[in-house]
Symmetry: C2
Subunit: 346 residues, 2 copies
C-alpha cells in the first residue's frame, strides 16, 4: 500500500545506478542535464516518494524540529506561538512535532526523550506565560531555543515580550489622548509580566511629569470577578481616573463590567486600554477594546529562525544577544477618547 517504489526501482527504470538517481534528485554533484532530467521524469512517472527515514538516518539530520510547550491551547497565546513556529518552520523546509506537557515535568522529560529518539534537529521550548525557567538537562543535548521564558542559566537563546515597552506603549497612548489621571489595574501575583508593565507605566507617567504614579496602580487577582470588584474601587476613587490601563484584556473586561454597573460610559466617561489583543474578546466588547498586542507569533517565528541558525552550526555563545525582547503593538479600537467635557456619540 504505502509507497512501494524505491530509489532502486527508479534506477532500474531509468537504466542508471541508484547513486545517479540520488544525485539527480538532490541536485548534488554535476551530471549531464539530460540524464538528470530523464531520471527525474522517470521518478515522477513512477510516483516515487523518497523515504526520508532512510535519508535522515544516513544524513544524521531529519529536517524535523520539536515543539514542546506546557499547553497547546489553554490560551489563544499558545496558539499564536504554535502558528508562528509552524509558519517559520514550513518556510525553512522543516516539519514540526509538537508535544504538550501539561506543565508536568515528568511528561516533559518523556517528551524530550521521545523527540530525541526521533532525532529531531532541534527543539523550541515554549512556556505559555512569561517566566523564568530551568533548562531541562535533556535539552542540552540538542540545539534549542526558549520562548516566553528566560532560562535561569544563559545557556540557551530565548525570546520574551518586552513587558516594559508594552506598559509604556499602552500608557503613552492614553497620555497622548490627553489623559493625566490614569489608573493602572494590575495583578497581585508578581513576575516579569506584571513587574515589567508596571515599570513601563511608571516610565511613561514620569516622562509626562506626573508624580506619584505609584499611587495610581491597583492590584487584583487574575479573575474576572476580582477585576470587576477592584475596578469598581478604582472607578469610584476621587478624583475619578479618566482612563485605566489594564494588565490584560481580562482586567479590561472587569473594567467594562464595573463601568456598566456604575453607569459610566466607555469611552466618554472612562477610556480603557488592555494588553493581549484577544481578538474575540476585544471585538465582542462594546465598544471594541483598544489593546496592546503581545508578540506571540513573532516569538514563534524568531525561535525557529534562530534554531535554524544553530542547527546550521552557528555557535551560540552565552554572551552574544541571547535573549531578544519582542515589542508589543497597540491595536486601536473604540475604547479610548480624549478626557474632559463629555463627547456625545450616536
Amino acid at each position: 500500500m504505502a509507497q512501494r517504489v524505491g530509489i532502486k526501482d527508479v534506477a532500474l527504470a531509468a537504466g542508471v545506478s541508484v547513486s545517479t538517481v540520488s544525485h539527480a534528485l538532490s541536485g548534488k554533484g554535476h551530471m549531464r542535464a539530460e540524464t538528470r532530467d530523464r531520471v527525474r521524469a522517470v521518478a515522477v512517472e513512477l510516483g516515487y516518494t523518497p523515504n526520508r527515514l532512510a535519508s535522515s538516518l544516513r544524513q544524521r539530520r531529519t529536517r524535523v524540529i520539536g515543539l514542546v510547550s506546557d499547553s497547546i491551547s489553554t490560551t489563544p497565546f499558545a496558539t499564536r506561538v504554535v502558528v508562528g513556529v509552524h509558519e517559520a518552520a514550513s518556510a525553512a523546509g522543516l516539519q514540526v512535532m509538537m508535544t504538550s506537557t501539561h506543565g508536568d515535568p515528568s511528561v516533559e522529560l518523556a517528551s524530550l526523550e521521545l523527540l530525541a529518539s526521533y532525532r529531531v534537529d532541534g527543539v523550541v521550548y515554549a512556556k505559555m506565560f512569561h517566566q523564568t525557567a530551568d533548562v531541562p538537562a535533556a535539552l542540552l543535548a540538542m540545539p534549542s531555543v526558549f520562548v516566553d521564558a528566560l532560562p535561569r542559566e544563559p545557556i540557551v537563546p530565548a525570546t520574551v515580550p518586552d513587558e516594559r515597552q508594552i506598559g509604556r506603549v499602552g500608557t503613552e497612548f492614553l497620555l497622548g489622548q490627553g489623559h493625566r489621571n490614569i489608573a493602572h489595574l494590575s495583578i497581585v501575583h508578581g513576575g516579569p509580566g506584571r513587574d515589567g508593565r508596571v515599570a513601563g507605566f511608571m516610565d511613561a507617567m514620569h516622562a509626562a511629569s506626573i508624580e506619584n504614579a505609584e499611587g495610581f496602580v491597583a492590584y487584583s487577582d487574575d479573575t474576572s470577578e476580582a477585576y470587576a470588584r477592584r475596578a469598581r474601587d478604582v472607578l469610584t476613587a476621587s478624583p475619578r481616573p479618566t482612563a485605566v490601563f489594564c494588565f490584560n484584556d481580562r482586567a479590561a473586561i472587569g473594567v467594562y463590567h464595573a463601568a456598566a454597573s456604575l453607569r459610566l460610559r466607555i469611552p466618554e466617561d472612562v477610556s480603557v486600554v488592555g494588553v493581549d489583543n484577544l481578538e474575540l474578546v476585544a471585538e465582542t466588547l462594546n465598544p471594541g477594546l483598544t489593546t496592546v498586542s503581545l508578540p506571540h507569533f513573532e516569538m514563534g517565528v524568531w525561535a525557529v529562525r534562530t534554531l535554524v541558525k544553530m542547527i546550521a552550526g552557528e555557535p551560540f555563545a552565552g554572551d552574544t544577544p541571547s535573549v531578544v525582547f519582542q515589542p508589543g503593538v497597540l491595536i486601536e479600537r473604540a475604547s479610548v477618547a480624549p478626557p474632559g467635557p463629555r463627547v456625545t456619540k450616536t
Copy 2:
C-alpha cells in the same frame, strides 16, 4: 552532541549481542530475566536513546501520524480538534506532524507528499468548517480519516457534528424554559451547518406543536454587523420573540448589541442561546451566554482512535458506519430565563 550511544555500545558494555539488546529492550521473545534486566540497566546507565529512524525504517512503521488541516488557528475550533488529536495520539503512543494548508490545494498536495515521505502511519484530514470535500488522491495511499468534513465518496471514515441534534438541543432548552415565540437567527450561506441547525430548530418547534416555525427564522450574513442589524429586525417584530436561538455565538453577539440598542435586557426581556461555546466570548458577554458546544475535541479524539484501528489493519469497508455524528452539549450560563412577567434581578 546528539545521542552518540547506539545499540552496539550497549551490547558491548553488557557483554551481549545487539540482537539480545534489541530483544531485551522490546520485550519480544523470551530470555532470562536476569540478562534482560542487566541489559536494560546498562542501557539507562549509558543514557541510550534508541534511534527511531532506524527502527521505523526497519519495521516500516513510524508511530507518527500526520494532521493536515486548512488552518491551525483561524478559529478556536481548529485548536480544539488539534488538541483532541494530540491527546488521543499521545495516549496511543503516537507523535503527530501537523501541517497547515491555508486552504490551498497545491500546498495541501505538497503537505501530503511530505507526510508520505516521512512515512507517517496515517493522516487525519481536517477541515475547519463542516463541509463536504473531495478525497485527495494522495490520501488513498495511506490510512486516513476526515474530520469536520464528509468525503464526497464514502471511501474514508469521517466524523462531523450532528448539526440537527445541535439545533434541537438549543431550541428545546428554550422551549423547556417556557418560551414559545422563539426566533432562529441563521445565516444566508447554506451548508450542512446551517441546514442541519435549521432543521433541528424546526424539529423541536414542531414537536412542541408550534406551527409555522419557518416564519421564525431570519437569515443574515456571517459578520457581527450584519447579525446586529438582522437581530434588530427580529427584536422589533411583533409580537416580539421572547427568545432567540442563534446559528453561532457571533450571531448571539449581534443579538446582545441589538438588545442593548433597543434597551432590552437579557435575559429578562429576551433570552438568547448560541452555538459554538467560544468560551472567551461566552464569558465576556454580560450576562454570560448559554450556548451549545460543538464537539471539536471529540472529533479529534475519534479520528485518531479510528485511525489507530485502521493502522492496526482493521479494514475500512465503505458500508460500515463510516461517518459518525458527534452531538453538541448545552453549556448553561445566564442568558436564558423563563419568559413572561419581568423578573427583577439585582
